[in-house]
Amino acid sequence: MQPVVLLISLILMAALTAAFWLAARASRGEAPGPKANSKRTGLIWAMTIAGVIISVGSLRQWPHALASTGDALEVHVSGGQWWWDIDTTEIPAGTPVNFNVTTEDVTHGMGIYDSGLTLLTQVQAIPGYTTKLTYTFTEPGTYQVLCMEFCGVAHHDMVNEFEVVAAEE
């Protein structure tokens, strides 16, 4: 997902930068014509309609939806300064996993990274709460849990790992 997000962002940013560049260059050119304000109205409508489509499209399926407990493997992860404890070290590929995340002290962030150091998903670990997150691993391999919320002097050392193994038939 990240490369697509980066590409779309850079294209839109470049387009808006170009609009500023052209306006600055046009300071020596013609003054805006009488149609300028209807162009603005068009822009407002275009942004509104695009916004409605993007919002509906991206929220129709709730991004934090959880797998029902019957079908999923329940895994408990607890964090503290500065460690992660994962109660399951071997997770089968292809099965939805419900992570139940808690913290013993301050707020942490549980970020799951694949072996290529790409962030797959994350959830905050909040004192006094259990936060839940569903993820289905497709590839066997070693995965890492990195802390995503600044939690003090050894924040960057708050790393642990688990294995995803091929599903038994």
């Binding site: 997902m1 990240q2 997000v5 980066l6 962002s9 850079l10 808006l16 930068t17 609009a19 500023f20 306006a23 600055a24 046009a26 300071s27 050119g29 003054a31 805006p32 300028a36 603005r40 822009l43 407002i44 942004m47 509104t48 916004g51 993007i54 919002s55 991206s58 929220l59 709730w62 991004p63 934090h64 300064q81 002290d105 301050v106 707020t107 962030g109 970020g111 990274y113 150091l117 790409t118 962030l119 998903t121 994350q122 959830v123 905050q124 909040i126 006094g128 709460y129 936060t131 839940k132 990195l146 995503m148 919320e149 600044f150 939690c151 003090g152 002097v153 050894a154 924040h155 960057h156």
Partner: protein
């Protein structure tokens, strides 16, 4: 009440800047802001170089510098924005000098407390003081250091409340009500012989939302302080986080909304076209007033125990906030600039750049405001990537543009060689610096990590090189300002 400015409610070319009330205090504030911006940028450069393993930095010191950089930059953005707003509000209402000096004094007292807490007390809990981290340092700092840090915030917050109380009071006196100053007559199509100029609309909106933000920030600061001192006094961590991010989001955005008045007031001197309040402008500002307070939930999109509707609002408002910014502020800038035959000196170039940087930076921000994207971008380098875009190329460019305008001399002339070089250096450095952050975010590099993996070092090193350019450009801007100020005063 200054009636002289009444007929010129929209264009103020007649007002001599030297006659601006409290210009001396504002200039002093801009010297301080420029110096602190430069120092905090050097802190940023040090952090990037340490992440790139070009220099060695103890993680404890790294996180202290991180804390100083965050608090220092947010504070200085707000300070410079407040100076700009005070300066230009003074063209429309009469403001009491004593209040500004009290504000500045309390701000500096806060700075002393914060710097002492960090570099004497060892506090390194980040500028966000996320509960209960200040109280649970794992041995890195004592409760006293955390308390001093938070008392520093309280001092700055009290100063800002005084500032807004005075601003709100004088706007009320001049315009009868904050509602009128917010342009409600324009919105409702009622006749208003003396409609509020853009600066006053901005001042009224910021006065309302930033006062609310600071009061809620004060509430969580007091709760955190009591928690430090009274064992057993517990605060709900999620509630505290909501209050902190409400305050933090509103406060940093207020700095841009204050500083943009420099664009409203200065650009017309170049384009010859007054920046006017009209119905659309008033609607946009009233939308901003609501949006800026409703959007903070986009900081909590991965706090899945939050009520889902709040996260939905966070995502929607992240997107729709872009409409007043791009279709109103940016689009109006295009219209004012096109065909204006304006002169591009350092001040006008920086001010147009600032609107561009602010608008362009809102794009990666709203994209990260989508819950599904946020799952893989939250707390990665993507986040400093977008906020450095609209701060470094937005608020800070507004402040530097305002400073260049203050010392522009009697006639406006094209940029000289040094100005061109400084502008190009700053723009290239900042654009490269933020682009590296965005690439790093897309490469899943977490933010706020003192020690980086081998795989990430190339990003950090390229970022370090760009940040050297930013520091160089900034040093020229600030030194040029101080030198010209000395010449014009002497």
């Amino acid at each position: 009440m200054s009636t002289a400015s009444e007929p010129a409610a929209a264009g103020h070319a007649a007002t001599e800047p030297s006659a601006a009330p409290q210009a001396g205090a504002v200039k002093l504030t801009m010297i301080l802001s420029g110096a602190v911006f430069a120092l905090m940028m050097v802190f940023g450069l040090i952090m990037r170089a340490a992440q790139g393993q070009w220099i060695e930095l103890d993680p404890a010191l790294f996180y202290q510098i991180l804390t100083a950089h965050g608090a220092g930059m947010v504070g200085t953005a707000a300070l410079s924005g407040a100076a700009i707003l005070w300066y230009f509000s003074g063209r429309h209402v009469v403001l009491t000098a004593g209040i500004y000096w009290a504000f500045l004094g309390l701000f500096l007292l806060g700075v002393v407390l914060i710097l002492g807490a960090i570099f004497v007390g060892g506090y390194g809990g980040a500028w966000t003081f996320l509960f209960p981290l200040p109280a649970l340092s794992g041995g890195a700092w004592e409760a006293g250091a955390a308390a001093a840090f938070m008392l520093g915030y309280v001092s700055i917050g009290v100063g800002f409340l005084l500032y807004y109380l005075e601003l709100g009071r004088q706007i009320h006196a001049r315009y009868g009500s904050l509602a009128r100053a917010l342009g409600w007559n324009l919105i409702l199509g009622r006749e208003d012989k003396n409609p509020p100029p853009p600066t006053i609309v901005a001042a009224a909106a910021v006065t309302i939302f930033n006062s609310i933000g600071i009061i809620l920030g004060a509430a969580v600061l007091v709760a955190s302080l009591v928690h430090l001192l009274v064992p057993g006094f517990e605060v709900d961590a999620l509630l505290a986080k909501n209050l902190i991010y409400f305050f933090g989001h509103v406060f940093i955005n207020a700095s841009i909304y204050m500083a943009v008045t420099a664009v409203y007031e200065i650009l017309p001197e170049y384009t010859g076209r007054p920046w006017k309040s009209n119905r659309l402008f008033a609607i946009a500002w009233n939308a901003v007033l609501i949006f800026v307070m409703a959007v903070y939930w986009h900081h909590l999109l991965q706090d899945v125990v939050m009520p889902p509707w709040m996260l939905v609002v966070g995502q929607l408002v992240s997107y729709f906030s872009g409409i007043p910014l791009i279709a109103v502020t940016a689009f109006s800038t295009f219209l004012y600039v096109r065909g204006s035959k304006m002169t591009w000196d350092l001040a006008s170039s920086l001010l147009v750049l600032s609107v561009a940087g602010w608008s362009v930076g809102s794009i990666p921000a709203s994209i990260d405001g989508m819950i599904s994207v946020n799952k893989v971008m939250h707390n990665t380098m993507w986040v400093p990537g977008h906020f450095h875009t609209y701060l470094l190329l937005g608020e800070v460019a507004m402040a530097f543009g305002f400073m260049a305008w203050l010392v522009r001399g009697k006639t406006i002339s094209q940029m000289g060689g040094l100005d061109r070089a400084a502008f190009a250096t700053y723009l290239a450095g900042a654009a490269g610096f933020v682009t590296v952050f965005l690439f790093s975010g897309a490469a899943s590099i977490p933010r706020r990590w003192a020690v980086h993996y081998e795989e990430w070092l190339t990003h950090d090193r390229i970022g370090t090189l760009f940040s050297v350019l930013v520091v160089l450009g900034t040093l020229i801007f600030v030194l040029r300002f101080v030198a010209r100020l000395g010449r014009s005063e002497g």
